[in-house]
């Protein structure tokens, strides 16, 4: 006889809830309300003699399939639906801005830190390139580990208020550091080298991003084709 794993109601309900929540047009409040309904139905079916598993399956069926539910809820939740859709785009743009500001800040801070030590233009050039390459590697490695291996959880970090404060703060610090650089050192040659490197870095980053976008696009087309 086939061995059946023991039925766990809490796990099944959590799984069902997570599928509902993945849909952009349901709020947590909606899902809690549906869960309460499901539990009421399970209790009453169990009272009529069904096992927990049978009661769960029938309650789920009576409540309606997930496509039907999300479709019906989307009619009343169009506002939430729009917000949920647009938030990832805004986050993406903010991460992009924050990344550039932080890279610039790094270079400026590096300059302000090592300039008093009497670093010459050549080593400054090389060091800034290394620093920028390291930044880009760190960024893409973190990205890779998050999405491929699901190692990091940036959940608290990637929130709009946090991202906005990072962008604003690093922008202010950048302006301040440029002011310090010009006021204290007046070494236009150094500053030119740095901004040159920074611009190359920015273009490289944008090119990598464009290549990645194309790869993702073609990959998604391929995957969707198979799915159909």
């Amino acid at each position: 006889m086939e061995h059946r794993t023991e039925f766990n109601l809490a796990n099944c309900i959590n799984h069902w809830k997570s599928i509902l929540l993945e849909n952009n047009n349901m709020t947590i409040d909606n899902v809690t309300e549906l869960e309460s309904h499901l539990l009421d139905e399970i209790v009453s079916l169990k009272e009529s003699g069904l096992t927990e598993e049978e009661a769960f399956l029938i309650s789920q069926k009576r409540l309606g399939n997930i496509n039907l539910l999300t479709h019906e809820f989307s009619k009343v939740n169009s506002h939430a639906f729009f917000l949920n859709k647009i938030i990832p785009y805004i986050k993406g743009v903010l991460i992009f801005l924050a990344f550039f500001q932080i890279a610039e800040l790094q270079i400026n801070a590096f300059y302000l830190f090592f300039k008093p030590a009497g670093i010459n233009n050549n080593s400054l050039n090389v060091a800034s390139i290394i620093l920028l390459i390291a930044t880009i590697i760190v960024f893409f490695t973190a990205f890779f580990f998050k999405y491929k291996k699901q190692l990091f959880n940036f959940h608290y970090f990637i929130k709009i208020p946090v991202l906005v404060s990072i962008v604003v703060l690093s922008k202010i610090m950048n302006m301040f550091s440029v002011f310090l650089m010009v006021k204290n050192y007046m070494d236009i040659k150094n500053i030119k080298t740095l901004s040159y490197n920074l611009n190359i870095f920015k273009s490289t980053f944008v090119i990598i991003l464009l290549i990645v976008s194309f790869l993702v696009y073609y990959k998604s087309k391929k995957v969707l084709k198979i799915a159909n």
């Binding site: 409040d29 909606n30 809690t32 309300e33 549906l34 309460s36 309904h37 539990l39 009421d40 139905e41 009576r62 409540l63 309606g64 039907l68 539910l69 019906e72 809820f73 009619k75 009343v76 939740n77």
Partner: protein, 114 residues
């Protein structure tokens, strides 16, 4: 037993829900059980679809909702009708009476066509 058409159920959902709530405040599951019981199981909704309707009624200002915790510690969202909802129910009743009387008259005048 023959099921009532989707369109007719759709058209009657709002007056039915408002009527149930005009008796006492209630939550989705209880409303559905009440309707099943009163219609002898002839009216069967996709149970989950009652919630978007309730939310729509709440948005329009006919009913209000609040979360309450039951004796067993479960959270339930209760809905209750308000004055605007009562007024809506009165006008719905008038509309349904008009249709009902029309149909009764038509069927009484021509009882046996076959």
């Amino acid at each position: 037993m023959k099921k009532i058409s989707k369109e007719l159920i759709g058209a009657s959902t709002i007056p039915i829900i408002l009527s149930v709530l005009s008796k006492k405040e209630s939550y989705g599951y209880e409303i559905i059980q009440r309707i099943k019981e009163l219609s002898n199981g002839q009216i069967e909704w996709g149970e989950g679809t009652i919630y978007p309707v309730l939310h729509k009624l709440e948005k329009k200002g006919y009913i209000t909702s609040s979360w309450k915790t039951s004796g067993s510690g479960r959270k339930r969202k209760y809905y209750s009708i308000n004055i605007k909802g009562e007024q809506k129910l009165v006008s719905e009743k008038e509309n349904w009476t008009v249709i009902n009387q029309l149909i009764l008259k038509l069927w009484n005048i021509e009882p046996n066509l076959i």
